[in-house]
């Protein structure tokens, strides 16, 4: 952690620099200033406003900023993600940056002639998206780590597609704002406002990028799972969306046509031309080991469904390799398990898969 007092001094000295908006600044440079700006934001006084604005104007999209802000505001993290902050720093706190940025714009409104109503809408939008964003992220994580295809959550995906489009519009609007000149304002605040708008535009862009990445990666993972076990997926049609079902059909036909053309049609006997005998269908490997986290207290993991239940079993009863014992795991514990053992619990939502 940097020496915040010295940093504050440094930054105040550099406030008068002409080009204090450096949108090209890398993330590493500005990981410290945001720490100091968060308490300033919480104070919410006018005096500190300008300092806060200048300071954040250096930052591009500092993940540490939002992380600190989240800690400041003790925002409830929705689904037990507290243990994963390390790899979440990259992906997670964009919603909060959104919040922060929009609330900054709002404050700017108070100190000089404002930009209009859209900032308020953006703040509200920012607050609303938090849970959904976390939900999308969990959805993505689960899908990536699961050997089989998980259920399709049409709602969330549609919601985010709409959101993406809305964000693109705001980005465009902000970009226009940043390049247009506004003669009403004083010189310094005009350039601040313009630069701030371009800063916020880039924050929005990053955010939209992240959401888009998750959506595309989700689609890609699902598609590759469908393709790989195409014949098996015929039985899992209820987990797919409309487009995926039609994709499966077309892909199946394509593959079958290809194999027939190259191999099967040359076979002498009709009965051997089949592709879908039971042993020929490869199903996803459900015995793969996955990392997982238990979400609800007192979960009973069934190792072997035919075993007699030992209700007094401890976790360290390793003699029989845990093959036919039922183990209890408290909420919050992380395990490595065979996917087949926890499959039902994952579907019920009691266990979450981890990266």
């Amino acid at each position: 952690m940097a020496d915040l007092h010295n940093l504050l001094g440094e930054l105040e000295d550099q406030e008068e620099e002409s080009s204090f908006i450096d949108v090209n600044a890398t993330n590493e440079e500005v990981s410290q200033p945001p720490q100091s700006s968060s308490p300033a934001e919480a104070d919410n006084t006018d005096i500190e406003n300008d300092e806060v604005l200048e300071r954040t104007s250096r930052a591009e999209v500092p993940p540490a900023l939002a992380e600190a802000e989240r800690k400041q505001h003790h925002q409830p993290v929705v689904d037990g993600e507290q243990g994963e902050e390390d790899d979440d720093l990259l992906m997670e706190p964009t919603r909060n940056v959104d919040d922060f940025a929009s609330s900054l714009l709002k404050k700017k409104q108070h100190t000089s002639v404002g930009d209009g109503d859209e900032d308020i809408d953006e703040t509200m939008l920012g607050a609303l998206e938090d849970e959904d964003y976390a939900h999308l992220k969990t959805l993505w994580k689960q899908e990536v780590n699961c050997p089989e295809l998980l259920g399709h959550d049409t709602e969330t995906i549609d919601l985010f597609m709409e959101l993406l489009q809305g964000q693109e519009e705001s980005i465009d609007k902000l970009l226009d704002q940043s390049s247009a000149s506004n003669s009403r304002k004083r010189h310094s605040s005009r350039s601040v406002d313009r630069n701030l708008a371009s800063l916020v535009a880039s924050i929005y862009k990053m955010d939209a990028d992240r959401v888009r990445f998750m959506l595309t990666d989700l689609a890609r993972t699902r598609l590759s799972k469908i393709e790989q076990h195409a014949l098996f997926m015929r039985s899992m049609v209820d987990r797919m969306s409309e487009e995926e079902i039609s994709y499966l059909k077309q892909y199946g036909e394509l593959l079958e046509r290809h194999l027939r053309r190259t191999v099967l049609d040359h076979f002498p006997k009709e009965a051997w031309k089949k592709l879908d005998e039971p042993e020929m269908i490869d199903s996803p490997d459900l015995d793969e080991f996955v990392f997982c986290k238990v979400l609800e207290t007192v979960e009973i993991d069934n190792r072997d469904s035919q075993a007699a239940p030992h209700t007094q079993d401890d976790d360290d009863d390793d003699d029989d390799l845990g093959e036919d014992s039922i183990q209890e795991h408290a909420k919050g514990s992380c395990l490595i398990a065979r996917y087949s053992a926890i499959q039902d619990l994952v579907h019920q939502g009691k266990i979450e898969l981890l990266m």
């Binding site: 949108v23 090209n24 890398t26 993330n27 590493e28 591009e60 999209v61 990259l90 992906m91 597609m161 980005i171 465009d172 970009l175 880039s202 862009k205 990053m206 990028d209 992240r210 888009r212 990445f213 959506l215 595309t216 990666d217 689609a219 890609r220 598609l223 590759s224 393709e227 487009e243 994709y247 077309q250 892909y251 394509l254 593959l255 290809h258 194999l259 053309r261 190259t262 191999v263 040359h266 076979f267 002498p268 006997k269 051997w272 592709l275």
Partner: protein, 202 residues
């Protein structure tokens, strides 16, 4: 009569090569031929005791019938795996670089059927990503920075339109640019640009 050796050769060839070897038409045909031979054997055997009044094959001929049958299944499996594996590689290729198949590839390495397959698959995936309104080949890795530094390492790229402003950048060999990630990502994947990390000094 090789009992699956031809099939095995095909698979070993697959394993040895980097991507996929050129389509071993001869090998495939040889394997199919073997299947036919086994089948003929089976036919002969069936004919041999058809004259007798057994409804089921006699004990002596059972092992050889089973053997031929097993050999046929083995060959079939080898063939299917060979083709499926090549198809998998093609799919992966399409995933990464969503461009048309380079002509060199389609004449030397792939068979005709595979070229057709690639074309059809290409259409299928493009239709799907259009339906979803998401570009499935962009954003292959989580975005870390908005703008990235790239160095041009391939020749003859000309000018490229980048960014919200619509200005164009001339991509001459060896130049270094600072560009929005979205616009240059596909070029990086194709190998035309090289991303410079911040630790690198030049």
């Amino acid at each position: 009569m090789n009992y699956g050796q031809r099939g095995r050769e095909l698979l070993v060839e697959l394993k040895r090569s980097d991507w996929i070897p050129s389509y071993n038409d001869e090998g495939v045909r040889g394997t199919l031929e073997e299947i036919r031979l086994h089948f003929e054997e089976l036919d002969d055997q069936a004919a041999a005791f058809a004259g007798l009044n057994y409804s089921k094959p006699p004990m002596e001929s059972r092992p050889s019938i089973l053997l031929h049958h097993a050999a046929i299944r083995r060959n079939k499996q080898c063939l299917l795996v060979y083709h499926a594996h090549r198809v998998d590689k093609l799919r992966a290729l399409r995933r990464e670089t969503p461009s048309a198949l380079p002509a060199s590839l389609s004449t030397t390495v792939l068979s005709e059927a595979e070229t057709d397959f690639y074309g059809e698959y290409d259409k299928l995936v493009s239709r799907y990503s259009a339906a979803l309104d998401l570009d499935l080949s962009a954003h292959q890795s989580p975005p870390e920075q908005d703008l990235i530094q790239v160095r041009v390492i391939a020749d003859g790229l000309g000018r490229v339109v980048v960014g919200g402003g619509g200005s164009s950048v001339s991509l001459d060999m060896g130049t270094i640019h600072y560009l929005p990630r979205n616009d240059v990502e596909h070029l990086i994947r194709q190998g035309a640009l090289e991303q410079l990390d911040t630790e690198e000094s030049f």
